[in-house]
Subunit: 222 residues, 2 copies
């Protein structure tokens, strides 16, 4: 199909498609005699993926490009794709990952507690996983607020998160080819994040109604 | 304590404290003869809460103010506090909630599927819960990508989210007074969101390493 048809099928404007082509986020089409390029279903699929990561998930264009590069170059190695998606490993191999902390950033206050939790869960993770710092920040904030929730208080959540990751891994099985598996790793990791928080918020409203409230949808402090 | 001491204890600059006082996000201090105000531990606590919601969780000042108003005016009604935190109910009672969809926004494509999932889970939620729309958006994106994950594919996640909300509700118990309970509802709902995603990402790396990879922290496509 021509680029105009590709635009129509995906809802992405032609100038933006040309930008993605220049940036290498979209593979080039097949050149035809008429000095035009011919695009296929792979292009439709890839453009929808780009649009989803940017529009639905709110990723930056550069983060999206990094993930698409990982899909192209690392599709034979799912663990590597996951590593790039999780921000554990640099997308470009300028340095080898895993040798130590990524840089000389100051350690957040809750870092020792975060490591306690990770050890208690038996999770073997690399030192560069940025999620450790996020966890540390939240633990430090909870301590600062005297919230009476320390890393042990997060263990029930950690066990449920462990269950979620089991479901995530299960999602990779049954995919036919490696690119499809790698792409699913991206979708499951990144696109499901807002869905998981939404599911928790829905469950919270339902439980709040049962435990603390009146009928759902009604204000009950009339 | 004087405002300078309040600033020192919380790390919040004096002009910003004065701004929060003007905005009503921080209750006024006790006036003293010397035409100054005297602040107490409640002010330290409230300022730390404001700082956490804005700095750690990335909420806007207006969203933070809405939540603090809910803590002040609705502390006798946990379900109401939850409703405001979840965005289900308007913080200001200009309109009664629960009467129908919040406005004439176009319904996202995945809305029917989102409702199927919510019904299947037996969650009684109000029509205005914005999480329903988030869920619908993700379901629509998955369908658009032919990702072979429909609302039934999200059921295992929904069951785990239900377990998370059980833990959330459990966190409210044991708090002495109603303000402490309401404040904990805010912390648990909002502040734990990044922690939950971080825990899932850590578990994902650990599982990815077990299932698809070599040793954690090593690149294994040498």
């Amino acid at each position: 199909m021509k680029v105009s048809e590709l635009s129509r099928r995906t809802g992405v404007q032609v100038p933006l498609i040309k930008h993605y082509l220049r940036e290498g986020m979209l593979p080039p089409g097949r050149s035809t005699a008429s000095n035009q390029a011919e695009y296929g279903e792979d292009h439709v699929h890839r453009l929808r993926l780009i649009r989803t990561l940017i529009a639905v998930r709110g990723l930056s264009a550069s983060a999206t490009k990094e993930i698409l590069d990982a899909l192209t170059t690392e599709q034979e190695d799912l663990h590597q794709v996951f590593g790039i998606v999780l921000g554990v490993r640099p997308a470009k191999r300028e340095e080898e990952a895993g040798a130590g902390p990524p840089s000389a950033e100051p350690a957040p206050a809750g870092l020792a507690d975060a490591h306690e939790l990770i050890t208690e869960m038996g999770w073997e993770v690399s030192q560069g996983n940025p999620a450790t710092h996020t966890l540390a920040e939240v633990l430090a904030a909870l301590a600062d607020l005297d919230a009476d929730i320390d890393w042990r208080g997060l263990l029930p959540y950690a066990r449920l998160a462990d269950g979620i990751a089991d479901v995530d891994v299960e999602q990779m099985r049954g995919e036919r080819d490696l690119l499809a598996q790698a792409e699913r790793a991206v979708l499951v990791s990144i696109l499901l994040e807002p869905a998981l928080l939404a599911l928790r918020r829905l469950a919270q409203e339902a439980k709040s109604s049962q435990h603390f409230g009146g009928k759902p949808g009604e204000t009950n402090s009339a």
